[in-house]
Amino acid sequence: MKKSSLEKNRRFSLLSTLLSLTLVFLAGCGDGNSVDSSTKSPSDGKAVELVYYFPTQTSGPLAVAMEEIVKEFNAANTGVRVTATFTGNYDETMQKTLTAISGGNAPNVVLSGYSLSNLLSIDALVDLNTLIAKEPKDFLDDYIPGFFTLFEYPGDLLYGMPFQHSGTIMYYNKDIFKAAGLDPENPPASWSELKAATEVIKAHDASLIPFEFMGDNWMTEALALSNGGGVHQDMDTMSLDNPELIETVSFFKGLMDSGLAEDNTSYGGAAENFLAETTAIMTNSSGSLGNVSKTATFDWGIAKLPAGDGKDPVALLGGGGFIIIGEHPQEKIDASWEFVKYMTSPEVSAKWMLASGYFGPRQSAYELPEMKAMYEEKPQFATTLELLPILRSPFMVTSHFAEVSNTFKLALDESYLNNADITATLQKAQKEAQAFLDK
């Protein structure tokens, strides 16, 4: 490089280097002291602005339906304006919510799954009992009590309002039942009936999968509860080695080993096999109802999960509800509560049930003419109402939910897929899971 141009070069190079480095680090680093924009001063006299995150967990035009419902709310409530934001699935919604809270940009209302431990660990949520206390005494009378258990915590705390719920359920193909010589109006209700039915189906057509179930935590807990067992005693004590659970896993593993059943890890995948008529009976979420009912070209029915012989069937509850994020002025929290009350009103509840196939939270919604007409037209949906009295909440623990769940899941995979000794595997899982809780 010639000396004469060195000076110019140096200035040029420094400039371009600095410019690019600034941008690299602007992109790469945050200083952690970002402006707290969540406390933007409430607009004077104007509508209170709320941000609402919603995921969709089932296929169908649900985002469109949700945006319409929010639009109607905005039209009817001049004092509040809600921006509805689609945020992927439950997990992505949780991640976006956590990021937004850390960034001081917290949303006001989130439609969330029931696993709230991340948000509770940063104390982000409003205890809804404090808001319910301001309502008339009979406020909760029309809400179905069972759904609240998903959001209740020790110390009389309530962090969510139920909105969209599903339960574990059995779907079966009536056409295949008829062809195989089984009574299509009499689906298997007990394990021995299930085993007999799958044997008949296998004998009728060896290319069919007689029965598909999910060897995951949720479905296994449902099957174990339907055998008088369970997976935990209380929020501090797991019970992964109780005899009823071991019996449950052993029974379904036995069906697999005899070629009568398959463990499908994906609820959607099982539903697709069922719709393609390669599977005769499946366990699934009632959240699949909308899709199955829209797509199936054959006669099908639903029933409670088969129970252990002589035991009562149980349906395990799932789904999501509204949570209200706390880091906002009271005015916004009150407006959020108005919005949540609207979203859980019988009319909106019915609208959402029709759009999604989920259970809504209001008793009177099921009595509305549009719901009655739907039950008339789709008798399978009416059958789901039989689940309401037998719904139970999935296990919840006070701490280390992710680790405990993971331990349980690994033990199930070992048992169902790797032919491990079931009793020993579950006993080991119990020790590990309990160790997390005793920490």
């Binding site: 280097t17 410019l19 945050g30 967990q57 169908g60 035009p61």
Partner: protein, 293 residues
């Protein structure tokens, strides 16, 4: 098989060599054809599936001809469910904007690293290299805080800004500038060409192929980017195509609507595909004639 081998052993005349050459060409082309078909297959599958109705997808997943052509119906439903026009506009603005900004910043920076000697040069270059070691996931929160602090939450600039400084572009272009023979620069200098002009008039055309190759990667990356645009935006008016795609293919609690999902995938892929077919000649040219040397 053995006949062929002995055939080669027998005769080593010129004609045989020629035949051998032809055979080699045929074999090479056959391999290329098979490999390109493999790459093409997913795209063909997207198109086939987008024409099927849900039951058709599930019952005859391998059928090439749909039992009923549902493409128009599927596309209508996909268009009804999301504001694709808004998504297109935003995606084009972000992808093209990011690319232009990336080139404006990284080309001069790369040129500086390649051509000048200045204090702490290797130190600064180390910073650029270090940027490559940081995974995008770990930048989610810091980027969010920065963008939010700059009041750029829920803006297109907020989506674009973190991608504008590209370490990989600086590294690629620096390498390309270093490959230009020194003699070329010396002769330009003798003719009175300054650094800036040299970079614009000689440097950039010389490394054109690398710039185009980087541009394609950058465009495709921004086009497909899902999680960051989803996290940093809030209103539908600021969202991009990949977020629109997420309205479909949901499988958490129900079977996916594959026909619709694939129709949506076509909407996302089509503009890029058309652009690449359209510019194919220039692209291939630029890859073949990489550097004058």
């Amino acid at each position: 098989m053995s006949a062929k081998a002995t055939n080669v052993d027998w005769d080593k005349s010129g004609a045989a060599a020629k035949r051998k050459k032809i055979a080699a060409t045929v074999i090479v082309n056959a391999i290329i054809l098979v490999v390109s078909l493999l790459f093409l297959l997913p795209l063909v599958w997207i198109i086939i599936t987008s024409m099927k109705d849900q039951m058709d997808v599930l019952k005859q997943p391998l059928a090439i001809i749909p039992s009923e052509f549902m493409f128009v119906e599927n596309m209508k439903e996909v268009l009804r469910r999301a504001p694709w026009g808004v998504f297109y506009k935003n995606t084009i603005i972000v992808a093209v904007g990011v690319l232009v900004a990336q080139l404006c910043i990284s080309i001069p920076a790369a040129y500086a690293f390649a051509s000048f000697k200045f204090k702490f040069m290797s130190f600064f270059y180390l910073f650029v290299l270090a940027r490559l070691l940081v995974s995008p996931e770990s930048l989610l929160l810091p980027n969010y805080l920065t963008i939010n602090g700059l009041n750029l939450y829920n803006t297109l600039l907020g989506i674009a800004l973190p991608s504008i400084a590209s370490a990989i572009a600086i590294i690629i272009f620096r390498g390309a500038f270093l490959e230009i023979p020194a003699a070329l620069k010396d002769s330009a200098r003798i003719d009175g060409c300054g650094d800036f002009r040299y970079m614009l008039v000689i440097g950039i055309p010389t490394i054109k192929s690398r710039i185009i190759a980087f541009s394609i990667t950058s465009l495709v990356y921004q086009w497909d980017n899902y999680f960051w645009p989803m996290v940093i935006t809030e209103s539908v008016q600021k969202r991009t195509l990949a977020v629109g795609m997420a309205y479909f293919g949901i499988q958490a609690e129900s079977a996916s609507e594959w026909g619709l999902t694939m129709a949506a995938a076509i909407l996302v892929v089509l503009p890029l595909l058309v652009a690449f077919v359209f510019f194919q000649r220039q692209l291939v040219d630029s890859f073949v004639t990489s550097g004058i040397k």
